[in-house]
């Protein structure tokens, strides 16, 4: 984080210095030239020097003196970091394209400009300061605003403020932190329970307690096996292993997936309805699609209260078909909408124990959609319900085979 800023500050200082030096050279050349011209009126000899200096002055003026600041300005504008440069009196010399909207901006931009001005004031007093700014959005943004004085040989030339959008970095950091915390939680919970139960069973003679504990060991083993199965499924889907490309009737996929979850729905008196107007097919992998849609239905039933409803339908639009699963469940908070497709991500970890599952279902859904050249979309409102759409191209896609060790940020963003 420190080095890019330092480099940038050096570039800016260099730019200012080059610009100042050129101006000084030009001024000296101009003075010298005028002096020689006046002298040259009386003498003939120095005229060659006079014309040489003329040529030199023209050359410097037309090429380097114009080009150099222009290059600095263009380089300034090309930067992904917002930069504002002021002279020692606080008068703005340069503001690059990235920082331009802040000057006249409203809402979040007005707050960024406020911080820029504060940092400039500090920098003009000779202090280097930085401030992290979080803007609620949407979209939520994290910015790092750094102000530095520009000093040469003890003389304050001005100040520079750099505004860096670190939102993506923050998001990835958060994803990594949560991933580690969530995966350890998911793995440690059943393993910890198994260890504790077996330890307690040792020396236990009461057959009733033994039966009860054995039942719980069975439950925890099933949970662990489910987690491993899902991990293997996810790995297989991510790697595109054994994927086939055949014509798949999406109506049949919806019906088959709904049948697989009907028992769970009946237990909570949740009605499942399927709406299919036309026979719609795509080229793809049937088992992957069934796995994804079953996960969508399982998820919908899990988070819908008793007597609620879950519906599945197909919507054709242009070259795409959407498999839509809608529920009247508890909904997902807006800040979690983009994150629920991450591996092991839980909206409410406290609730996870009662709802069960491995935290991998929606990650599988997204990977299946990506494998088919499609995407997933989610709209949700807490207390109203959620609508998951798996949007797939009609023509299908070459089922992608991706390396197993795909970057975390690439898949889980």
């Amino acid at each position: 984080m420190f080095w890019p800023f330092l480099t940038l500050v050096l570039v800016i200082v260099l730019g200012i210095q080059i610009f100042a030096n050129r101006q000084r050279e030009l001024s000296i050349l101009g003075k010298l030239n005028r002096t020689l011209k006046t002298a040259g009126d009386d003498r003939t000899e120095p005229k060659s020097v006079d014309s040489a200096l003329d040529r030199l002055a023209n050359m410097v003026h037309s090429d380097e003196s114009d080009e150099m600041p222009r290059r600095v300005a263009v380089a300034f504008d090309a930067m992904a970091t917002g930069a504002v440069l002021v002279d020692a009196d606080g008068v703005e010399i340069m503001r690059n394209a990235k920082a331009q909207p802040y000057a006249t901006g409203r809402h979040g931009d007005a707050l960024i400009e406020n911080v820029i001005q504060d940092r400039l004031q500090d920098a003009l007093r000779g202090e280097s300061t930085d401030e992290e700014l979080r803007l609620h959005g949407p979209p939520e943004k994290f910015l790092l605003v750094v102000g530095s004085p520009l000093v040469e040989s003890g003389e304050l030339l001005g100040a520079v403020v750099l505004v860096d959008d670190v939102s993506e970095q923050q998001r990835l950091d958060q994803v990594r932190r949560d991933f580690v915390a969530n995966v350890s939680h998911e793995l440690r919970t059943p393993v910890g329970a198994l260890s504790l139960l077996s330890e307690t069973l040792e020396g236990e003679t009461d057959p009733q307690i033994i039966d009860q504990f054995l039942g719980r060991i069975q439950d925890e083993s099933t949970r662990l096996a489910g987690l491993i199965d899902d991990l293997l499924d996810l790995s297989r889907i991510e790697g595109g292993i054994d994927a086939e490309s055949v014509a798949v009737d999406l109506g049949a996929v919806l019906h088959e997936s709904a049948s697989a979850v009907r028992a769970a729905a009946d237990k909570k008196q949740i009605t499942i309805s399927i709406e299919i107007d036309d026979a719609l097919s795509i080229i793809g992998d049937r088992s992957q699609l069934i796995s994804a849609v079953t996960n969508l239905f399982t998820n919908a039933i899990k988070y819908t209260d008793e007597n609620g409803s879950v519906s599945g339908r197909l919507v054709a639009h242009g070259d795409e078909i959407a498999i839509v699963v809608e529920d009247t469940g508890i909904g997902i908070p807006q800040r979690d909408v983009q994150r629920v497709f991450e591996r092991f991500y839980r909206v409410d970890r406290g609730r996870a124990a009662s709802t069960g599952g491995t935290g991998l279902g929606l990650s599988i859904v997204r990977n299946v959609a990506i494998n088919h050249g499609g995407r997933v979309e989610l709209t949700s409102q807490e207390g109203v319900g959620s609508t998951f759409s798996m949007i797939l191209p009609v023509s299908g896609a070459e089922l992608t085979t991706r390396p197993a060790s795909v970057q975390l940020g690439e898949l889980d963003g």
Binding site: R106, A110, V384
Partner: protein, 248 residues
């Protein structure tokens, strides 16, 4: 000399406008933060918002003083005068909206530990989003001097009013089901009222912007309409009397 003075005056007016835009930006950030604190039971965030309000008050005071100075030194007229009067009025509205965000945080302190149901969380999030939207449109209307944007605000506010009604119904239903205590129900009803008031301030700002642009406030227009209607009624009565006399 005269032109230079007017130039300075307009620079000063622009500076006041920029300060109001900044004040409004602070408010539009404070509202969703207060909502986040409420939903997450985040006392630390609530305290930050409460403490930050002092900065907003200071900024509001600066705006007010600058407006007084402009009136005293420049003796503005017509649209210039209306711009300053509008700035002073809406400065108060934004400052009050900031206070209402603080009130939401103080409400959280009184019901700390409460777990809102998904339905209540959804409704409070929607109210917060609407309040932010209204505040943003109000400042856009002011900064652009757009009577069109300003006139859209009352209709937009209806949605927030409806959400408040839904929220109140839901909390009383929750109370009846025994999910919320009476004190929690009352505090949540007050919190809903705070969001609704933020919407009302945005509508007030819209009316002031319309005054700034057109020179007529909706109240004045309404009063004029009422006066006109009364005159029409009086004329109709006279005409009726004349007709009756003629008939006799």
């Amino acid at each position: 000399m005269q032109n230079e003075l007017r130039g300075n005056f307009h620079e000063e007016l622009d500076a006041v406008r920029d300060m109001i835009v900044t004040l409004a930006a602070h408010v539009t950030e404070a509202i969703p933060r207060a909502t986040e604190a409420l939903i997450d039971n985040n006392l630390e965030m609530a305290q930050q918002i409460i403490s930050h309000d002092d900065d907003l008050d200071a900024l509001s005071l600066q705006i007010e003083e600058r407006c007084y100075a402009l009136i005293a030194l420049q003796q503005p007229m017509a649209i210039d005068m209306r711009s300053i009067v509008t700035a002073m009025k809406i400065n108060g509205d934004y400052e009050r909206s900031g206070d209402l965000a603080v009130n939401i945080c103080k409400g959280l302190r009184r019901i700390y530990g409460i777990q809102l149901t998904p339905t209540l969380r959804g409704l409070v999030t929607s109210m917060s989003e609407e309040a932010v939207r209204l505040t943003k449109v109000s400042v856009d209307a002011y900064a652009e001097g757009s009577a069109g944007l300003a006139s859209a605000l009352p209709d937009m506010d209806d949605r927030l009013d409806d959400l408040q009604v839904d929220f109140i119904q839901e909390i009383f239903a929750s109370h009846a089901r025994g999910e919320l205590k009476l004190e929690e129900t009352v505090q949540l009803a007050l919190i809903a009222r705070f969001y609704e008031r933020i919407g009302d301030h945005a509508v007030n700002i819209g009316e002031r912007v319309m005054y700034m642009v057109t020179g007529v406030t909706p109240e004045v227009a309404g009063a004029a309409q009422a006066k006109h209607a009364a005159e029409v009624d009086a004329l109709a009565e006279v005409a009726e009397g004349v007709a009756e006399e003629e008939a006799e």
